[in-house]
Amino acid sequence: MNNNQNHIYFDNAATSWPKPEKVYEAAEKYLRHPSGNPGRSGQALSLEGERFIYNAREKVASFFNISDPARIIFTLNATDALNIAIKGIIEPGDHVIYTAMEHNSVLRPLGNMQRNYGVTTTMIPCSHKGEPDLDFLDDSFQDNTRLVICNHASNVCGKIMPLPEIIEITRKNNAFILVDAAQTAGLIPIDATNVDLMAFSGHKGLLGPPGIGGLYVREGVSLKPFREGGTGSHSDRDQQPENMPERLEAGTLNTPGIAGLLEGINFIEDIGINNIRDHEINLTSHFLDGLKDITGINIFTPPDYYQNVAVISLLLESVDAGELGDILENTFGIICRTGLHCAPLAHQALGTYPEGTVRFSPGYFNTLEEVDYVINALSEIASLRKL
């Protein structure tokens, strides 16, 4: 039972919990054992750290079917990776296309670049099911369109984006494609060879600790460094080296986080990502089926759960979203997330702006019994609060 201190955790889209036992052990081991700063001189501990980072990089690369591990950089999280990508590739005067389902980690950097660097943008509208208008996308390209940004799945309604079509349209129009895989890495098999840039979170589906994420940068795509500093190489120069991964990785890396991430990926490979996906589809379909009998409920997750990740967004007509979250937590011990989920435009598309929704995001360690418990809780609240 995924239960600690009388709480049932259903907020894996924000950060996954619990983690596999080996993730805790790896992060702790890395802190307890003497370890040098990776890449800082050839002393034994530093070298050991660098070997460890190299192996982790290789593991992440092969997990996403990328042949050259040097094209993977470690970041703080997906937001950090998106900032590095967006601010590294866009030049003043460029045009950028993004979808209505994007997170604030895309919308805010773009807003900044619009206000301060003369960048123009076009938003691709999405239906109330979270589907982007692909004809609109095809018509949105301009001579100066450099980048298209699209998430792999929505953190609000769970809808998986039609990436193959979006990539094809982007390629045809000679722009770069940046994919935000925060909600899918570790949950859906990903082959990143077809994208130019891919940001991912290490602490959600990949089951690592918070504070670790990454960015894939395709060979031939050059980014201006978002942060500059020590790399342990070319130390005599006052500029960031050209070589990857050092070019985009200034400063000391989060080695305990990377150690945990590595074990998270090992866990996923041991279980099999398709088995994890099947379990999440089971939980989602069971959840959606159970909600059908509750009166006065509005569900904003598309019913075709094979096209979703495990995110269920809903509202009860008789209870405010924030209050529902409060009752679920304090009366039933259920942890979920209420509000706008840092994606205001997605809520506009779904018709849930500005109130937002109540979001349940089960993970691999949740069970069908826990889903039943949530359904019963919602059913009880709905019947007590009839309009």
Partner: protein, 97 residues
């Protein structure tokens, strides 16, 4: 008196890649070491090996497309090192003082 040879690399990432390749596909004796001060290098880690093995290692690195900067030969002198006085004092046991 003898000499050792050093491969230097543009980045530590390349140095570690080189080490990994040698581990898996060569019987050459080598060691990853801090770059000696007589050598200039972009990264602080070098691969030290016998000068007899240079060609084998070079060919392996080229085959695996691992970028290295230079190969240096460094003559080694037999020097006996003595601890500085302040360290000698520090190492005395309390009952000896």
């Amino acid at each position: 008196m003898g000499s050792s040879c050093y491969f230097t690399f543009p980045t530590t990432y390349n140095a570690i890649r080189a080490e990994k390749i040698l581990q898996n596909s060569s019987s050459c004796h080598y060691r990853m070491v801090p770059v000696p001060r007589t050598i200039s290098s972009s990264c602080g880690t070098a691969l030290r090996c016998s000068c007899d093995d240079i060609e084998i290692i070079k060919n392996l690195l080229i085959f695996h497309q691992i970028e290295y900067e230079h190969i240096h030969e460094v003559k080694e002198e037999n020097k006996s090192f003595s601890l500085p006085n302040f360290l000698k004092k520090k190492r005395k046991k309390p009952d000896e003082q």
